[in-house]
């Protein structure tokens, strides 16, 4: 992936990556940040409960406290890694699964292709979010990995379709025929000729899949249908709505997780757009 080239040529990509990496760094070092401003003996995930509920923002609690006296900024910092992990993991699984399926379908062709294509079409057409809802709501004790798997069960179809189209068009190129004539085995053709050309599509797919998975996760948690014990940003939004903070007046409890989520999606969207623009010049804003 020509990361540096895209970085240099696309301002959207730069902005997106900076935003996303800021969130990742905040997630990785969340423990340090919490200890830094709340004091050394703070226990996460209670995140520094000082007992007083619904406090206004102050130096000690930059975003105030919530219904149970927990520091809200601490809660956000604790949920951020969960959100990021599940989304990225689900994206990686679904792109891997989807591109394998798409690849096999495109490369082999014939009956396998027809069957796989029908399956993919069904999964694309059918509204999968309700299915994910039902799945997650029933399996109440899911770990992060299992939840990521559940989300990716339905999400791989779009990757499969894109990769399959790409493989189909690549298969007919002259240099592939040349490789066949020089008696290269199938595996060598795949690795040396086809895969390098797929990398841009895989990259864009990964960005798109991260957005979809993150949205699926937020959708689950905001509705309150996610596994118990899983606190992520969407769950915080759900909590703030259930406490009716907008009517109570401490709107920052609602606005803060929403802002972080918006930043996450914005950053990912920019990364996605940057990569798409780089590989498809017709999409550039001013043509």
């Amino acid at each position: 992936m020509p990361f540096r080239t895209i970085w240099k040529s696309s301002p959207k990509f730069r902005i997106g990556v900076i935003i996303f990496m800021t969130l990742v760094i905040a997630a990785v070092f969340h423990q340090l940040i919490i200890t830094w401003y709340l004091g050394p003996d703070v226990n996460v995930p209670e995140a520094g409960s000082s007992g007083a509920i619904f406090q206004d923002p102050s130096w000690k609690h930059p975003l105030g406290t919530d219904r149970f006296g927990r520091d809200w900024l601490g809660m956000i910092l604790v949920s951020l890694p969960v959100s990021l992990t599940v989304s990225v993991l689900a994206a990686i699984i679904s792109v891997t699964l989807g591109s394998t399926v798409g690849f096999v379908a495109g490369f082999k062709g014939g009956k396998i292709d027809t069957v796989l294509r029908m399956l993919t079409d069904i999964l694309i057409v059918v509204p999968t979010f309700p299915l994910i809802m039902v799945l997650a709501a029933y399996a109440r004790a899911l770990s992060t990995v299992e939840l990521a798997l559940a989300i990716s069960i339905f999400a791989w179809a779009t990757s499969a379709r894109v990769i399959r189209t790409q493989v189909l068009s690549l298969r007919e190129r002259p240099y592939i025929e040349l490789s066949r004539m020089t008696n290269m085995s199938d595996r060598e053709i795949i690795i040396q000729d086809i895969l390098p050309n797929m990398i841009p599509y895989l990259g864009i797919n990964l960005a798109q899949a991260t957005i979809s998975s993150a949205f699926a996760l937020v959708g689950l948690t905001v509705l309150g249908l996610a596994p118990r014990g899983l606190t992520d940003l969407g769950a915080l939004v759900n909590l703030s709505l259930s406490w009716a903070v907008l009517s109570l007046g401490n709107w920052w409890i609602f606005a803060a997780p929403v802002a972080v989520l918006t930043a996450l999606f914005f950053g990912l969207a920019m990364v996605n757009m940057g990569m798409e623009e780089f590989y498809n010049p017709r999409l550039r804003g001013t043509s």
């Binding site: 959207k12 679904s94 079409d121 069904i122 694309i124 057409v125 059918v126 509204p127 999968t128 979010f129 309700p130 299915l131 809802m133 039902v134 799945l135 709501a137 029933y138 399996a139 989300i151 339905f154 999400a155 179809a157 779009t158 379709r161 189209t165 957005i211 979809s212 998975s213 949205f215 699926a216 937020v218 959708g219 905001v222 509705l223 309150g224 249908l225 939004v237 709505l241 907008l246 709107w251 609602f254 606005a255 929403v258 989520l261 918006t262 999606f265 914005f266 990912l268 969207a269 920019m270 996605n272 757009m273 017709r282 999409l283 804003g285 001013t286 043509s287």
Partner: protein, 365 residues
């Protein structure tokens, strides 16, 4: 997973599928159009059966027995006692909900009930109201909300896209395009959250809950209808924003392509006025491919927007689905899912059958 295929992808997908099916149809000896129609209808029936089976298997495979939940609930309310009574009660409810017999038996009786009688059984959410009736109550609201969003988003997007494409060399066009490129990738739920925050909470311009003013009675009266639109303003606005930006992008790229064509340069050289070029040539060539995408969007009406409905506590299918899932109401869940799937498949079928008629370029390929 696409929460709604974007219009750009949709066109490619439709063209793909149509080409493949037409190729297969041409190989038979029947009139190709007839063969195509039959093939498409056959595919439709197979997909419907597949969807119903998928729903059934999916819900049956999930652990947890709704009857247990119901019995526990009755226990709490102190409504029964004794082992005999409880066995009879469980058997009765199992029969009611179609849960007796082995799985294959249940499957056959399920297909029988659904296809022939369109009966999904009683719901648990409000027993003994049948699940189909709950859906009948909720569906119009969802269709109103998402239908308005889709149509308005399409109109705004296509018109604005033409304008932006026409002015493609100007700076404002570039800014608008960039704005839309980013906005189209952000899910509409976030705009809904911010709209609630800004317009409902901070500015108090619009309400944030419900479908209409609780003090009004439903009917074709002006106060009710205007209240309906007032309450739907925010949810529709957030959806329209994202959809319109998406349509704007695809329309703009279509317009830019058309404007680069030779025949337009020729028309201009012959002295055809700009206004005529815009209306007669550009717009005619643009709205046609976008109609296919519109059809696909309309098909996704029912499945979409569970989150927005939940946020605004709008009494549509989405909210019903969430309630049913929380209560493990198997019948309502199956009914909702099946209906969503069937509607999407039907919309795709209609588009596939109509597209060759309205767009001659598709036919010719």
């Amino acid at each position: 997973m696409s929460m709604g295929a974007s219009s750009r992808e949709a066109q490619v997908i439709e063209q793909d599928q149509f080409d493949e099916q037409m190729d297969a149809a041409r190989k038979t000896r029947l009139n190709p159009t007839l063969a195509y129609i039959l093939r498409r209808l056959g595919l439709f029936l197979v997909l419907i059966w597949g969807a119903l089976t998928l729903t059934f298997v999916f819900i049956r495979l999930i652990p947890g027995n709704p009857i247990d939940a119901l019995v526990t609930q009755m226990e709490i309310q102190g409504q029964y006692g004794g082992v005999d009574t409880s066995t009879q009660i469980v058997e009765f409810y199992e029969e009611e909900f179609g849960l007796n017999g082995s799985i294959p038996e249940q499957y056959v009786s399920y297909l029988n009930r659904v296809i022939i009688h369109q009966d999904f059984g009683p719901s648990l959410v409000s027993y003994p109201v049948p699940a189909t009736e709950l859906i009948a109550r909720a569906l119009p609201w969802t269709i109103f909300l998402v239908g308005m969003s889709v149509i308005m988003g399409w109109l705004f997007g296509v018109v604005a896209g033409c304008a932006v494409g026409w002015a493609r060399k100007s700076r404002w066009s570039g800014w608008v395009t960039n704005f839309c490129l980013v906005t189209a990738n952000i899910p509409d739920y976030f705009f809904a959250l911010w709209f609630v925050f800004i317009f409902a909470y901070a500015l108090d311009w619009f309400p944030a809950n419900g479908a209409y003013d609780a003090s009004l009675r439903p009917g074709f009266t002006w106060p009710f209808i205007s209240s309906m639109f007032y309450y739907a303003a925010l949810p529709i606005a957030s959806s329209v924003l994202v959809r319109a930006t998406d349509w704007l992008i695809s329309t703009r790229s279509l317009v830019v392509n058309i404007l680069g064509e030779d025949y337009l340069t020729y028309a201009q050289a012959r002295g055809l006025k700009n206004k005529n070029i815009l209306t007669r040539i550009v717009m005619r060539n643009t709205w046609l491919p976008q109609i296919a995408g519109l059809g696909i969007s309309l098909g996704g009406i029912v499945g979409g927007n569970i989150l927005i409905e939940n946020l605004f506590r709008y009494p549509g299918i989405g909210t019903l689905m969430v309630e049913a899932t929380a209560l493990k109401d198997v019948n309502t869940m199956m009914a909702c899912l099946s209906m969503m799937i069937i509607l999407v498949l039907s919309a795709n079928l209609i588009i596939d059958l109509l597209l060759p008629i309205i767009d001659p370029r598709v036919r010719r390929s």
